[in-house]
Amino acid sequence: LEEELLFDRSHKGGYGIGLPKLDVPEVNYKKLYNKNLRKNKARLPELSEPEVVRHFTRLSTWNYAIDLGIYPLGSCTMKHNPRLNEEIARSSEICEAHPYDPIEWTQGHLQIMYELQEDLKKVTGMPAVSLQPSAGAQGEFTGLLLISAYHRNKGKIKKTIITADTSHGTNPASAALAGYNIVQVQTGEDGYVTLDSVKDVLTDDVAAMMLTNPNTLGFFEKNIEQIAKLLHEKDALLYIDGANMNAVLGLSRPGDYGADVIQFNLHKTFTTPHGGGGPGSGPIAVSEKLIPYLPIPRVEEKNGNYHLNYSFSKSIGRVKSFYGNYGMFIRAWCYIKALGGEGLRKVSENAILNANYIKSQLKDVLHIPVDGNHLHEVVFNDKNQKESGWDTSKIAKALIDYGMHPPTVYFPLCVKNALMVEPTETESKDELDRFILSIKEIVTSKDSSVVHPKRAFREKIDEVKAARELKLTYKFKDE
């Protein structure tokens, strides 16, 4: 069903809320504000509740979502969002808590934050956690600021960060934001960063190396412990991008192999909903040496009472107002409690199982450019489809017509025309079989020249036009 923009549906006099009658004297704001007055009313749409409900219900039906089917986006960990967590996070006890509420009222909230910190410490094997960062990228940025504070505090100025070619774009972007220069190492042919490649770039100017582990090819960096050692010898630190933590819960802990910082993506690993692109939450865990620099405030416990401690002279300060995306902490806390220690390990084991099942079923169909011991995700490409013409983007768009979301495409950059598949543990074998069958049908179907998708709400969208003829806001008819 087509649905126009809110503004096109608007009609003068439409009204979607009610207000209590004003029970105090009116104030003439025009007189009061005088020269600080807004000239014309903001042209918000004018619609009733029935129209608004219908508008957004219709819009929603144009979306794909995990609730509708598999979402095998590599390194994005799109998995089922448990419903209880959503219910609790939306309860009035949570929603009506003000960040500056009197301390008596905040005990429960601080306790939840404290417990989540403790659990994340255990998951990483690292001694301290800050929940403050708003999302993974801000977690990276925060981690890098900690690293720079660490060196600064030692009187050193180091300006280089090493990243890998398999890394997410946020890694170099965050490093740049934190004032660093970037040096990139190339992944070896077997899909691992080699010690030599690190040695080659490891000067005294290197503040840290950022590595995603398992990396975006789905491999656990087998040299990680040695890399950490190398780095530490030069007083460079090891930053682990935790985007792929879903592969190693209860199986391996960054703290045990020498990581100094790791950021979590609660919206990936710990099932807070992606929401069409946020809100996320990006807590960080750090090694002993970075503790003094953690953001303030920190949540602490003393004799069963909880408080916020602002008194850390070496802290980098805040990266966000208040204490982080608390609503997401609730969901992650619930998730961790629901799974428990054993359950979390099963999460990762099953994620690995599912990825390897897909690999085993598709390996004769799609080329695997870098084969090895895949954990939770597998990167294919379109090399086998040269003749049939089913290139990566065609396969992706064709999947839409099978009612499935395509994998991550053209990433990681070190693989040409990558198709990066991460099924996650919340897909049943049934759903995996559907996905496998669809891929097989697509690449064996004769005509690769048909432009997909045909059955989605829209056919292929003209992205070039969007960028060339920028239309970023509604143009009112009277303009």
């Binding site: 807004r38 144009w62 939306r90 412990e225 969208i461 509604y474």
Partner: protein, 453 residues
């Protein structure tokens, strides 16, 4: 029961998958993880709990939390207790919105995309600015990114002036963001009227200033002369950025666009988002169209599909980290989409007239509270000659922390003690009065002031 409600894979599935993979156990699939760094034990975070147990636990933990039924709060300071129509919670629970990813595949993400376009349009309209991005983490990070953007636009300038009227936590975030960039942040003092000192601004402005940031209503609730500050900034070749922590005020007050702002940011929590102990909220970010390529964050643009039908897609992603890596305009990736959607539905329901009426009620209730609280003789309004919107500073005769304590015993949180931010400010209480407070609520507060003030 051997299964777990969140894990669909059964024992039989496992066996089948092992077979398909040509392995005989889970161990075989884990050999990629070196033995030395394998965890030998189970994580010591307890057994998994059922829904019943989690609910019990949560209600045990929260038993002393603020209870909406019996308690009353006049807290603001950047987070406001505004009303939220029931439809929003229910619409944002729809799996299609809640459980979808960033709309990188526009063909079947048009719902999120059109909603974003509507969000951008409404936010731009409220700010009177030409364009808006598709959301930022929160108000404080929006403001910090505005500074980064200004530094990109004024590449050889290395100083930023920030009014002391800006929310203190925002200033902290700004400073953190600039840590390693060799940029100096100078604070412009606030005068005895509670507003930014224009003379101080004048004397601080110099050629090296890339950006001036001010907030209105400011942290003390006072409405600033933004026009004057904007003009002053521009006259010295500096950009001017407004930070708006209570954007409902823009229903009545001159907009950033009207006073010629270059970048205007703010916090969208006021648009019906739950207070949620500090987040998630939504950072608002607007600017001029000409600055679009320097703008951080995602943008949704209108276009057409293969059949020529109006469609939407993320655009100008060449500014973003996933394409441009270290040269990106920002490192932001996941933003606050669902919060932006929440705000959009709120704005759509509130609508053109409701937005103004809501603001009028805030103003009227706040003015009523001011006048009644003053009448007690137990306190006065600090900066009483300066206009406010829905928030103001009450100067108590007694210590604010003592007064708060007594009020809390009576289930009322009277405001935020300014001592929290300014250790010497022992008597200042920052009070916000929204449309949700009835006259009765305010009178109750006044009574407590009479008793404990």
């Amino acid at each position: 029961m051997s299964g777990h409600r969140l894990l669909p894979t059964t024992e039989q599935d496992k066996i089948d998958i092992f077979k398909s993979c040509g392995v005989s156990s889970m161990e075989d699939l884990l050999i990629g993880i070196p033995k030395e760094v394998r965890l030998k034990s189970i994580l010591s975070i307890g057994d998994g709990l059922s829904e019943i147990e989690i609910k019990r636990k949560i209600s045990q933990i929260l038993k002393n939390s603020r209870n909406k039924k019996s308690s009353l709060s006049f807290l603001g300071a950047g987070v406001y207790d505004h009303f939220c129509p029931a439809a929003i919670n229910q619409l944002t629970l729809r799996g299609e919105f809640l459980t979808s990813y960033t709309p990188y595949q526009p063909e079947f993400s048009q719902g999120t995309l059109q909603a974003l376009f509507e969000y951008q349009s409404m936010v731009s309209e409220i700010f009177g600015m030409e364009i808006s991005n598709a959301s930022h983490y929160d108000g404080s990070t929006s403001m910090a990114e505005a500074a980064l953007m200004a530094l990109r636009m004024k590449q050889n300038k290395k100083r930023i002036l920030v009014s002391s009227g800006v929310h203190p936590e925002y200033v902290e975030v700004l400073k953190t963001y600039l840590t390693n960039l060799g940029v100096e942040v100078s604070l412009i003092p606030v005068n005895e009227k509670g507003t930014t000192s224009l003379s101080a601004l004048k004397s601080l402005l110099a050629d090296d200033v890339a950006l001036v940031i001010a907030q209105s209503p400011n942290f003390m609730g006072c409405i600033e002369d933004m026009q004057e500050m904007s003009d002053l900034s521009h006259s010295k070749g500096s950009l001017f950025s407004a930070n708006v922590t209570e954007p409902l005020s823009l229903a009545l007050l001159k907009t950033p666009g009207e006073y010629d702002c270059d970048i205007a940011t703010g916090e969208g929590q006021s648009f019906g988002l739950p207070q949620s102990f500090g987040g998630p909220y939504v950072g608002l970010f607007t600017t001029r169209l000409e600055n679009v390529r320097q703008m951080p964050g995602r943008l949704c643009g209108e276009t057409v599909d293969a059949l020529g039908r109006k469609s939407f897609t993320l655009t100008l992603s060449t500014r973003e980290q996933h394409i441009r890596r270290e040269k990106a305009t920002s490192n932001i990736c996941t933003n606050q989409n669902l919060c932006a959607l929440w705000a959009s539905i709120w704005l759509a329901l509130v609508g053109k007239e409701g937005f103004v009426e809501l603001a009028e009620q805030n103003l009227a209730k706040s003015e009523y509270a001011k006048s009644e609280l003053t009448k007690t003789g137990k306190a006065k309004i600090r900066y009483s000659n300066t206009n406010t919107f829905n928030e103001f500073v009450l100067e108590l005769n007694t210590s604010s922390s003592e007064f708060i304590k007594k009020c809390v015993e009576n289930n009322l949180a009277p405001g935020v003690s300014l001592q929290r931010f300014f250790p010497d400010d022992k008597n200042g209480l920052l009070i916000a009065v929204t449309e949700k407070k009835s006259r009765e609520d305010i009178d109750l507060f006044v009574d407590l002031l009479k008793r404990f003030g």
